[in-house]
Amino acid sequence: MQLTVWTYEGPPHIGAMRVATAMRGLHYVLHAPQGDTYADLLFTMIERRDARPPVTYTTFQARDLGSDTAAIFKDAVAAAYERFKPEAMIVGASCTAELIQDDPGGLAKALALPIPVIPLDLPAYQKKENWGASETFYRLVRALSGPPPAAGTARASADGRRPLCNILGPTALGFRHRDDLIEIRSLLDRLGIDVNVVAPMGASPSDLGRLGAADFNVVLYPEVARVAAQYLQKTFGQPMVETVPIGVAATIRFVEEIAALTGIDPSPVLAGAPSRLPWYSRSVDSTYLTGKRVFIFGDATHAVAMARVAATELGFRVVGLGTYAREFAREVRAEAEVHGIEATITDDYLDVEAAIQAAQPEMVLGTQMERHIAKRLGLPCAVISAPIHVQDFPARHSPQMGFEGANVLFDTLVHPLMMGLEEHLLGMFREDPEFHDGAAPSHHTRHGGPSPAPVPEAAQAALAQPAPPPSQPTAKDTVVVSLWDAAAEKELKKIPFFVRGKARANTERFAREQALPLITVETLYDAKAHFGR
């Protein structure tokens, strides 16, 4: 059993729903108890879709358990087919239905519907949402992409026509999948490459039957599409491009890789200034971004890409990097090594919180959950990966990928930080009643603000929220903290708040290493000189 305050991923059947909802002409019959229809509102509310997801739930109840839940399931499949007349169906169980073992695949097969019915086996107590999406997509591709070409048949060469590719990976409820797709389609078009099928987003089961016609596959989101692309590579001999074009350098690599694959000259696409990020980042206004300590957490694709962008395109220092996607831990570990740190691979929110506290970053780039942590710790934060909430399905064009995506990233990653001049002035003048440590950057809504007017005790009790759990300093820390002398403690307060935590930790470490019994003002500055910044 795992204590879960927040979960980074839903159960695997949510992943299957993301694939089904992304597609057209596909229906999903899900054996699930009453209440599991909550999942509909992820699509109708968070993504604001204008139609119900193509999902029929059996919504069995306790009274049904005594009778024939298998019959309920069969009726649901038959009724869904009659009503929606899909081109293909997927059938499966949610976590509770998995326990009662009704065998959705076998039951659906017994109905002998005149369409492909693809059973999904998604182990809800082992696997999670992204795995469910990947497995569902793979099963669909396997079942619907048609027989492999006869052995020895050479792939049809692209005589006279433009090269043709599939774009694999975008789903419903994906972080900026809608706009990434627009961006990548446009990039491919400018390269002179046509798109055969985009899947799952917008594809029908019959579209999946045409996947084999493409020359190669572009895998935008390996979490969803890597397995399917590997199958296509094996079956149809289609090479796959798996460079994720997030950030300027990665987009250039992506373009060059495709150019090499297709024999196209990439220089017209790369000429000029395709993204504003490089100039914005070089302009002197951005100098103060140098060495900002960032902690990055999310799905593997976005976390790795963002670490590269943060370090090499914005000049931040990556002090923490992690993912909740264990399937991609290897990639994230390798990237963390590049930054000289150890990756945080966990799906436990409390572990992530602890890692952030330990790394003492000045900014957090993470998911919706890291916004909670950052808010509690008083750190600036930007969202770079699912899980996300409604505000990260914006109306405006907001890709992460491609050159426009890099522009969006620059704005997103810089906005939460305090602007340069303000940062300087805070460091110089510490007693301003309006602009002080506790206040949020002045271009944001004030959260802390100047110390509020005293509240009468009764009102205070009424307003009182539960005390946020104390950050539970370990016994060791407590001992070290008590060793600060008063003057040093006061001097520490003069250090700008966003690096103060780090300064405190460094000083304490210095004192430990030097076996100093008491931290004085001198120790503070000795440590500063020792570590630099």
Binding site: M1, Q2, L3, T4, V5, W6, T7, E9, G10, P11, H13, P33, Q34, G35, D36, T37, Y38, A39, D40, L41, L42, T44, M45, I46, R48, R49, D50, A51, R52, T56, Y57, T58, T59, F60, Q61, A62, R63, L65, A76, A79, R83, S94, C95, T96, L99, P123, A124, Y125, Q126, K128, L350, Q368, H372, K375, R376, H389, V390, A462, P466, P469
Partner: protein, 430 residues
């Protein structure tokens, strides 16, 4: 524990007042009882809700609530994994470990609910015994109780019913010869609770207590001298538990709208022998304010045709308010369950010919809704945007649980909730 007896017949039944009650079976687009945690964890200020379930349960509760709540919430999920199911680990040991970690992290908790889910009910994990065991271990600092919020047993607000029913055995005993006391049952917004407190005090009814109380250790006493008044229509099991402890129900409609509030208060006043003059004097200002507040919305809502999808069991009282006080027409009133006893007064007040549907067959009901093309459809969040896209104005029903709507001074707000989507439609020009 909240399982309802099988529906005896699916035939339509007609009440004396000409209201048709029909039952329907099929796909149900409703929340499970776990969702009640979303408001209960705020109402009981020192309680924590630990769901024992799957990742789906954790995902549900954070999708329904977590994303709206940035403060550290007082709920979490103990997610069962394959090792638990395969018997590799002892579930009770695991649960103890999780509870220990939780209590270390949240030393401010006084009351811990272990909340059962579909998976934990299907594998028959005995949370009642687990709660007793844990209670012994962590008392007196923390009390541990259990209830089921599973979808197979509970629908949406029935989670509150199950939670409150779990609290009833914990209530102190009121002596049999104690003076009659009034107990108001159902989680109400703090402001509404305070208004009702003042009203009862003006009526001279005392003592008055509320269940749930705002603090875990402030549970009111209950006994044969207790008369309880339901503030919410979904409290079947809680009522039964209270009656097992000797309390007697005061039958009344629910305090929605001016008329409902008056009838609700009058039922209490009659039970406590309040003189009619005093009742008039105490309620007149509230009724006058409600009349003023409701007038502008009546114009907006009159003759509008309203369709209710089942959600919370509030549908029948709301339909009664909308039809009698706002002059709307009722196309269909869906409700997940219908407690014929608790809702008898409400059903008697519905206009003749009202079509009440208990249960749901989602696609059929959507077909009926599309065919009727009502002016306003009250439905859940899974249906609201899709119906809006089909050109139907909707009022998403969950808001009715998250907003103070009971009593005289909220009558206008309640009407406004239904008028707002219609007003919005007239405002938007694009």
């Amino acid at each position: 524990m909240n399982a309802h007896a099988p529906v005896p017949s699916l035939d339509a039944a007609c009440t004396d007042t000409g209201v048709t009650i029909r039952q329907e079976r099929g796909q149900r687009a409703v929340f499970c009882g776990l969702t009640g945690i979303v408001w209960l964890h705020r109402k009981i200020q020192d309680a924590f809700f630990l769901v024992v379930g799957s990742r789906t349960c954790a995902h549900l509760i954070q999708s329904a609530a977590g994303v709206m709540i940035f403060a550290e919430p007082r709920f979490a999920t103990a997610i069962m994994d394959e090792r638990d199911l395969a018997g590799i680990t002892d579930m009770n040991d695991e649960l103890d470990r999780v509870v220990r970690r939780l209590i270390e992290r949240r030393p401010d908790i006084r009351l811990l609910f272990l909340v059962g889910s579909c998976p934990s009910e299907v594998i028959k994990l005995d949370l009642t015994r687990a709660a007793q065991r844990l209670s012994r271990r962590v008392s007196p600092d923390v009390r541990v109780l259990s209830y089921s919020g599973s979808g197979i047993e509970t629908t949406f607000t029935q989670g509150e019913d199950a939670c409150l029913a779990a609290l009833v055995p914990e209530m102190p005993r009121a002596e049999a010869d104690a003076a009659p006391a009034l107990l108001v049952v159902g989680a109400l917004a703090d402001v509404v609770e305070d208004q009702f407190s003042r009203l009862f005090s003006e009526l001279g009814i005392a003592p008055v207590a509320f269940l749930p109380a705002r603090k875990a250790d402030e549970l009111p006493a209950v006994g044969p001298s207790t008369r309880y008044l339901l503030a919410q229509p979904f409290l079947t099991d809680t009522a039964r538990a209270l009656e097992e402890r000797g309390a007697g129900r005061i039958a009344a409609p629910f305090p929605l709208g001016s008329e409902g509030t008056t009838a609700w208060l009058r039922a209490a006043a009659d039970a406590f022998g309040v003189a009619p003059e005093r009742f008039e004097a105490a309620t007149a200002p509230g009724r006058a304010r409600a009349a003023t507040a409701l007038a502008p919305y009546r114009q907006r809502l009159a003759d509008k045709r309203v369709f209710f999808f089942p959600d919370s069991q509030l549908e029948i009282p709301l339909a009664r308010f909308l039809s009698r006080e706002m002059g709307t027409q009722l196309v269909e009133v869906g409700t997940p369950y219908l407690h014929r006893g608790h809702l008898a007064d409400e059903i008697a007040m519905l206009p003749a010919g009202t079509q009440v549907v208990e249960g749901q067959s989602l696609d059929d009901q959507m077909d009926r809704c599309r065919a009727a093309r009502p002016d306003l459809t009250v439905c859940g969040l899974g249906l609201a945007n899709p119906l809006e896209a089909e050109g139907l104005a909707t009022k998403w029903s969950i808001e009715l649980l998250f907003t103070p709507i009971q009593g005289y001074d909220q009558a206008g707000d309640l009407a406004e909730l239904f008028a707002r989507p219609l007003v919005r439609r007239t405002r938007l020009e694009v």
